[in-house]
Amino acid sequence: MKELFPAKQVMGLVFSLVLTLVALLVHFTDMSFAVGMTILLVTAFIQAFLQLVVFMHAGESKDGKAIYTNVFYGFIIALVTIFGSLLILIWDM
């Protein structure tokens, strides 16, 4: 029975529901823009990571390493592009 029950996925679902509830707090409570945005960003990234690992099974096949390298590389390039653009067009313009 234990092998048949997808404990990891159920836990994942519960956790992602919790994350959704936390994100909803931003709408229903009165908090500053900075705090709200931080909560949204943090929960969004954890949520995305959760989807990737638990529900899209990254890392479970033998390509796991390639998948994580890929995600990591994409992450770095996205961060560089976003913060570089902010630097060019807003912070240092």
């Binding site: 390509d63 390639a66 590389y73 994409g74 770095i76 390039i77 560089v80 592009t81 570089g84 653009s85 630097l87 060019i88 067009l89 240092d92 313009m93």
Partner: protein, 649 residues
């Protein structure tokens, strides 16, 4: 009649009318010729529906040569217009259109298909695979590229060409300043072929990661495959930025959004930013496979293994990362502060380091090697000093303070042609000569080939080195004329002569192909160059299934091991080979994309919606289609193998 007025060229000249007639005649001629010789069935069966990576590679190759001709014709017209002061061959508008299409055609529709041609032709053979990972997707990539290219190329006779530069900066490219449909062509044609490029990127990465021959670890891959791998990784990360930027530009132009406008909260500089976030990695997408080809060629014709394999791979990985960290150097003068410019100056100069490592590795490969001066090797040897000049002027441009002087002058134009022509074009021509026998079964004539090389090199130096001087003297790029008092005349005349020599070189290359088709001997064996990697281990011309038995690999030069060190490449029994079926869907999707693109360009919404439905219908069809491929049975393989001299190896 009002409906048809939108298709008129807004700025006609006798030259454009002549082109219309010429295009019409050529199309009629081709259709008549194919019908007369009853070749439609053959074309459909063997080419339009093919999913064979070799045939797709050959189609990329032919398209690239055609586009080289088109872009080259643009270049000659530009150089002619500038050959002496106050020329009146082209007016300002026509000149704008020509430099725009020259840039786009050369980068997107010449250089890109050229590198895709070699990736398609060579990578599966080098890794001992039977095809790419997704053969039908590969065909779709090609037909999307082709649809985009054709769409872009009809622009100058239907509705007008884009005229805002190949960078198409907003607000100039916006509706206020570019009123013709030209820039719509730019946005949509590049979008269509860009989708194809992205698919190729995914396809090639999967192929290289999943389909290598037994024993070939990542660090035992031949260098061209490594370079193709890195280039495709850059494609997958860079092209989505272009896709989105083009989409935003398209909606700005067609649906009056305000992403890149100067009012209503739009930011025109964001386009330049996005364009170069894609644009700088793009130049490495082009140059890395070129470096890969040089590595193969230099190692083969020096009769030595490649010096510093690991540092070659390492420097390419580093280049791929650094290529995403330098984009601001294309617009140092846009108004951002000194801090930003300094950061991007440093990252830009840092790229020179891994590139320098590669240059030294090639030199050390040749050092004490037994060098054979064949045509591919001549291009490779010519590349090293010429490209280094381009690299050094690149470091000059990287200094942001000095860039305020160089920016938008002919100095910059000289610099990037100095890297792209010896870097990419020489590599493509070297690769063309080097791999020609593998795919067509005969060599290109060496003597004519050497003439082409020398004409091209001398022409190149004559055409572009004077621009460094006129650039430093203040000749701006994209100016359609200049007065005699500027003193730019003589050097520009020299440039024109150089460009003419390069045009003659192109003619000799075409002549060489025709001459060799007629005169070259056909019994050249599998390995005419005494080469080192797996692609030469199979028959010439390559059978449909590439390898009757999958090769066993123990180093990056498996074939050399087999020839010299008694390595056994092919062992075991023949087995049935599983191959993909041909499909006409990619070709049809290409046509539908063409129609959709054309409709969007002219804001014809009814056909646009119909075509979009057609695209989704094709995708749905593919999703529900049952296609298990087919098998080539052992008996059949034996028959094919025995047709080659010496039978199966």
């Amino acid at each position: 009649m009002e409906f048809f007025e939108r298709f008129a060229v807004p700025h006609p000249s006798p030259m454009i009318y002549a082109s219309m007639v010429a295009i019409g005649l050529v199309v009629i001629g081709i259709v008549f010729g194919i019908t007369y010789f009853k070749k439609w069935g053959y074309l459909w069966r063997e080419w339009f529906t093919t999913v064979d990576h070799k045939k797709i590679g050959i189609m990329y190759l032919i398209s690239a040569l055609l586009m080289l001709f088109r872009g080259g014709a643009d270049a000659i017209l530009m150089r002619l217009q500038l050959s002496s002061p106050d020329m009146e061959i082209l007016d300002a508008q026509h000149y704008n259109e020509i430099f725009t299409t020259h840039g786009v055609v050369m980068i997107i529709f010449m250089a890109m298909p050229f590198i895709f041609a070699f990736m398609n032709l060579v990578v599966p053979l080098q890794i001992g695979a039977r095809d790419v990972a997704f053969p039908r997707l590969n065909a779709l990539s090609f037909w999307l590229f082709f649809a985009g290219a054709m769409l872009f190329n009809i622009s100058f006779v239907v509705g007008g060409s884009p005229d805002a530069g190949w960078t198409s900066y907003f607000p100039l490219a916006g509706n206020d300043f570019s009123t013709s449909v030209g820039t719509n062509y730019y946005m949509i044609a590049i979008q269509i072929s860009g989708i194809g490029s992205l698919m190729t990127g995914i396809n090639m990465i999967t192929t290289i990661l999943k389909m290598r021959a037994p024993g070939m670890t990542l660090m035992k891959m031949p260098m061209f495959t490594w370079s193709a791998f890195i280039a495709n990784v850059i494609i997958v990360f860079a092209f989505p930025v272009l896709t989105i930027a083009l989409l935003m530009g398209t909606t700005d132009r067609l649906f009056a959004t305000n992403f890149f406008t100067t009012t209503n909260g739009g930011m025109d500089m964001l386009w330049a930013n996005f364009f170069w976030v894609w644009g700088h990695p793009e130049v490495y997408i082009l140059i890395l496979p070129a470096f890969g080809l040089y590595s193969e060629i230099i190692s083969t014709f020096s009769s030595r293994n490649l010096y510093g394999y690991k540092s070659m791979v390492g420097s390419m990985v580093l280049i791929s990362l650094l290529s995403f960290l330098v984009w601001t150097h294309h617009f140092f003068t846009m108004g951002q502060g000194a801090l930003t410019n300094s950061i991007f100056s440093v990252t830009t100069m840092a790229i020179a380091v891994p590139t320098g490592v590669k240059i030294f590795n090639w030199l050390f490969t040749m050092y004490k090697g037994k060098i054979r001066f064949t045509v591919p090797m001549l291009y490779s040897i010519g590349f090293i000093p010429l490209f280094t000049v381009g690299g050094v002027t690149g470091v000059m441009l990287a200094m942001s303070a000095a860039d305020y002087q160089f920016h938008n002058t002919m100095f910059l134009v000289a610099h990037f042609h100095n890297t792209i022509i010896p870097g990419v074009v020489f590599a493509m021509l070297a690769g063309l000569t080097y791999y020609w026998p593998k795919f067509f079964g005969f060599m290109l004539n060496e003597k004519i080939g050497k003439w082409s090389f020398w004409l091209l090199s001398v022409g190149f130096v004559l055409a572009f080195f004077p621009m460094y001087i006129t650039g430093l003297d203040g000749q701006a790029r994209r100016m359609y004329t200049y007065s005699e008092a500027t003193g730019f005349g003589p050097l520009n005349l020299m440039s024109f002569f150089g460009a003419a020599l390069m045009a003659i070189a192109f003619v000799t290359i075409v002549y060489n192909i025709l001459y060799s088709i007629k005169n070259s001997p056909r019994n050249i064996g599998n390995d005419p160059w005494d080469a080192r990697s797996l692609e030469w281990a199979t028959h010439t011309p390559v059978p449909e299934y590439n390898f009757a038995r999958l090769p066993q690999v123990a180093s990056s030069e498996a074939y050399w091991d087999a020839k010299k060190n008694g390595h056994k490449l092919f062992t075991g029994e023949l087995k049935d080979i599983h191959m993909p079926n041909n499909s006409g869907v990619p070709f049809i999707m290409g046509i539908i994309f063409f129609v959709a693109g054309f409709s969007f360009i002219f804001a014809l919404w009814v056909p646009a919606v119909i075509a979009l439905i057609g695209i989704f219908a094709c995708m749905a069809l593919r999703s529900f289609e049952l296609d298990h491929g087919r098998h080539i049975h052992v008996k059949e393989i034996k028959e094919i193998e025995s047709q080659y001299e010496g039978g199966a190896k």
